[in-house]
């Protein structure tokens, strides 16, 4: 076990946590991933709205693009000027800035395209919604690309006495980790995404079945509900949780092999996965039984009450 490598692995986990949190919040502002089709359906359901509808594909492809572009630009700059001490950090920031520009352009085209695609339902194209949300979307995207390219870069350089953690070139690693982050943001983040905010009139724990899709809340305590309200709601729990999940994924991808060696690491990895499966199952069963609408006793009671009212 090399303490320098272990320290860098811990740093990567911390950086990935920040990146993961920013990624989930970005997708919540943009109604990307799972809620996007539902915001898309809102005008058809008679709910005109002031939400962003950023459907730049699913999160995995989108984050593959932003992180891949940032990684490629950083790679070129490091190849050219890497001899300057400390330059890689600047190169990664420049790469993330270029990726942020690409992100902004795709956001504009997807929001405008989707809103105009609903014009027969009289859904107006609110330009102020777009300009207000563009900054937070691109800002969170920048943080994410910077973190992902940062951890990818740490994988490609030799650490202390150890060789590099990975042999792949930087752009390839950045794209792969971008896709991984998008997938985690889409799966973990979606459970705690803006749906609780957008569908707050429905009972918690029931999910968003097809029958209620598009039936969103469009008004806030003051004025129209917008995408900023959704991200304020998600920043308390959904974003940090997604970051925590991605940070653990990055940390456990390397920690076990760094500490226990190759074969020991595989065995420890399998044990961790089994423990996580058991913990997830216990937690979900507990949450559904305690908070969800799946309490059979309560359901039968309310059914009996309804029957009594009808009589």
């Amino acid at each position: 076990m090399d303490p320098v490598t272990l320290g860098v692995v811990a740093l990567m986990g911390a950086v990935a946590t920040i990146g993961g949190a920013a990624e989930d919040l970005e997708s919540d502002i943009g109604s990307q991933s799972n809620p996007n089709s539902q915001v898309q359906l809102a005008p058809q359901m008679g709910h005109l709205h002031r939400m962003i509808n950023k459907a730049a594909s699913g999160e995995p492809v989108a984050y593959g693009v932003w992180c891949g572009v940032a990684g490629a630009i950083a790679y070129i700059l490091i190849t050219m000027f890497g001899f300057v001490p400390g330059f890689p950090v600047i190169a990664i920031a420049i790469g993330a800035a270029v990726a942020a520009c690409v992100h902004a352009i795709y956001t504009v085209t997807s929001h405008m395209g989707r809103i105009v695609g609903q014009s027969q339902f009289e859904q107006p194209l609110f330009m102020d919604v777009l300009t207000q949300s563009l900054g937070p979307i691109v800002g969170h995207g920048f943080i994410t690309s910077f973190c992902i390219v940062g951890i990818s870069y740490l994988m490609t350089i030799p650490l202390g006495a150890s060789p590099a953690l990975h042999v792949f070139p930087l752009p390839l690693l950045a794209m792969l980790w971008g896709i991984a982050l998008g997938a985690i943001g889409s799966s973990t983040g979606d459970v705690h995404y803006g749906a609780e905010s957008e569908y707050q009139k429905f009972e918690f724990g029931g999910g968003t079945p097809v029958a209620i899709q598009g039936d969103i809340v469009t008004k806030a305590p003051l004025g129209a509900k917008n995408s900023m309200d959704v991200v304020n709601f998600c920043a308390k729990f959904g974003g940090p949780l997604t970051g925590f999940c991605f940070g653990l994924v990055v940390f456990f991808s390397f920690w076990n092999t760094v500490v226990f060696g190759l074969y020991g690491g595989i065995i420890v990895g399998i044990i961790i996965v089994i423990l996580l499966i058991i913990m997830n199952d216990r937690l979900e069963v507990f949450a559904r039984n305690t908070y969800g609408p799946y309490d059979e006793g309560a359901l039968s009671e309310s059914a009996a009450e309804e029957a009594a009212e009808e009589e």
Binding site: S57, T79, F121, P124, D128
Partner: protein
């Protein structure tokens, strides 16, 4: 999913899909060959070939996705682009093995068509997807993907031969970036514009803007192989992007129910 369908069910359009297909295949191949023969100075021509291929691919996505693919729009793009990467590399490698390097791009296109056809047959016969134009469209998207990847690779490496492409595009990891950037450029236009009021011309304007944006990025990436070709690619890509993006934004503002800078939505009877 109702959001996936355009107003007229199958995709009718103002621009003939046959013309886009011909432009994509013939234009794409000619640009790859010209770009390859001219070396570093031909990068911009090769990149324009990729733009033609991407616009063709976006139109093919639009036709197949109009049958209600919905969230499957990015998926079919993803799948076809993986075919594109495999066939582009297999094509130029096969041409080198057979000592007919001049035929590399054609081999790549043929391999893409074959793999695309196999995937489409599996999707319709085994998986049981009931989309009548699945076969034709999957082949078209795979072909467009292959040509766009190969054209951008030619622009970066300055040649469509195996060795320079492996050296400048595969070893540096740019192939992964090309894969994901072309996936986005091909699937995004229809995915972004879908809805009952989707319009082919507006979608194609969006396709041109995503294609030129990718070309700009490829221009930046091709600076790694030296020369000044990358600068021309970047500038031409930027100019093309500004023109097509302005056209898309203008068309969107005109076609919107109303364009507002403040206020609430109008009262509409539910």
């Amino acid at each position: 999913m109702s959001a996936g369908g355009s107003a007229d069910g199958a995709a009718a359009g103002a621009v003939s899909s046959t013309m886009l297909l011909a432009l994509g295949i013939v234009g794409g191949l000619i640009c790859i060959y010209l770009g390859g023969f001219l070396g570093d100075n031909g990068s911009v021509i090769a990149a324009i070939g990729a733009v033609l291929a991407i616009v063709w691919g976006a139109d093919a996505i639009r036709r197949v996705a109009s049958y209600g693919l919905g969230t499957g729009v990015p998926s079919i793009g993803y799948m076809s682009l993986s075919v594109g990467v495999i066939s582009a590399l297999a094509g130029i490698s096969l041409a080198t093995l057979l000592k007919m390097t001049i035929l590399g791009p054609v081999f790549a296109l043929v391999i893409a068509i074959i793999i695309g056809a196999i995937i489409a047959i599996v999707a319709t016969k085994i998986v049981g997807m009931k989309i009548p134009i699945m076969l034709q469209c999957t082949i078209e998207i795979a072909g467009a993907a292959c040509l766009s990847i190969l054209a951008f690779s030619t622009a970066i490496a300055g040649s469509f031969l195996m060795i320079p492409i492996y050296e400048h595009v595969v070893a540096s990891g740019f192939i992964a970036v090309l894969f994901i950037v072309c996936t986005m450029a091909i699937q995004h236009p229809f995915n972004a514009c879908l809805g009952p009021n989707e319009d082919q011309v507006r979608t194609l304007k969006c396709a041109a803007s995503t294609a030129f944006l990718s070309m700009t990025l490829v221009g930046l990436l091709s600076s790694i192989s030296g020369g000044l070709g990358w600068f021309i690619v970047t500038v031409v890509g930027l100019i093309g992007w500004v023109i097509s993006f302005r056209a898309f934004v203008k068309a969107s503002c005109e076609d919107a129910a109303s364009t507002r800078w403040a206020g609430l939505w109008p009262n509409v009877e539910e």
